[in-house]
Amino acid sequence: MKKNILIVSGSPRGKNGNTASIAEYAYKKLTLEQLQSAILYLETEINRVENILKHMDAADVIILAIPVYQNSVPGLVMEFFEKVYNNKNILIRKERKLLVIANSGFAERGAGSGAIKTCMLFARDIGMVWMGGFTAAPGTLIDGKALEKTGNTYQRLRLMIDIIPGCIRSGKAIPEDALHLMDKPLMSPLIYRIAGRIIQRLKKIDSSRG
């Protein structure tokens, strides 16, 4: 039976930004592999609960792309979780899998672990099978570009997304050793922090209350 994949893009920035770039790359990969997919942007769709539930109902696999806000999912994604949970009895009973791709503003080991954990507990409470979750740390250097144009920095992230179609076809979770590929930050945390400071100083950021 043909599998339906729903990619939920959970950034408050909608179709702009790094989370959208990740969601769109995943969509392209799945489509190239002839897997039926759709993207739902929470920023525009969050108040259309019936539409969200309709897409959730049809989906066998949900790929959730999220930014990390304050070590967890953004408020927008928590609203989505609460709305789906409140309506979980309406959803057709079938096996659904959840896979999460997070992106963090910190270049740090474990940067997305709080957000991933939030999503795992959502999967648990809603009765979805956990397929795996990983974080691009940092995701900021995607800078809203198409992921295929982000060079070596995001090679590991592209590789991780590239293995998703195979996992969906075989009905397996993302392998543990693949998940570990994303443990190490995508660039040196020290260089990232120093470069960030230099850039802010060049922009002459005002440290007063304004």
Partner: protein
């Protein structure tokens, strides 16, 4: 002492006051002035990630829905208690929207402190902080996740004294069965 209670939970203010008694906060102390801010009365809009609080009007959120006034009261307090319902091991949406919008209290610089990256504080002083998370049923996994997430928030990192408490609330009797308390510091 100035105490501000920020209620983002699904409980009403009266129930939150009962919780406060449970966690030993003596509201009757003569020198104490306190208030409850009920996030449900706003409700606050979610953070839109515009970064205007960093680059356009530093320290000020661009969305004028009362959030900036809450942040001012936050900074003027000696202690803040944030009540939330724990959903999926994290803050519920109402509270999380507030937590996300505390970004104006920080600078767009990352620093490394106590083994983790955090955003640099914009101000010299932040209040002592207590996170009170409310669960309907015992759920060790959700409680542990909440403690981890709350302790890694920017607000927790900026405060010198942070406590995280998980309360189990029995809705039917309105009584608060159990309290698990864990002290943590930024």
């Amino acid at each position: 002492m100035r105490l501000t209670v920020i209620n983002g939970s699904e409980l009403d203010n009266a129930s939150v006051l009962k919780c406060l008694e449970c966690i030993d906060n003596n509201l009757g102390t003569p020198d104490l002035s306190w208030e409850i801010i009920d996030l449900g009365r706003y409700p606050l809009k979610r953070c839109i990630g515009c970064d205007a609080c960093q680059y356009v009007n530093p320290g000020v959120c661009a969305i004028a829905d009362g959030l900036n006034e809450i942040l001012t009261r936050y900074l003027e307090s000696d202690k803040v208690i944030i009540f939330t319902s724990i959903r999926f091991g994290s803050f519920n949406a109402k509270t999380k929207n507030f937590i996300d919008r505390t970004e104006p209290l920080f600078l767009p610089y990352q620093i490394y402190k106590n083994g983790r990256t955090r955003m640099k504080s914009r101000y010299d002083h932040y209040p002592d902080l207590l996170f009170a998370g409310i669960l309907n049923d015992e759920d060790a996994e959700a409680a542990a996740a909440f403690r981890f997430i709350a302790s890694n928030s920017s607000l927790a990192a900026a405060s010198e004294n942070v406590e995280i408490i998980v309360l189990y609330c029995n809705d039917e009797s309105g009584s608060y069965i159990k309290q698990l308390k864990e002290k943590g510091s930024a």
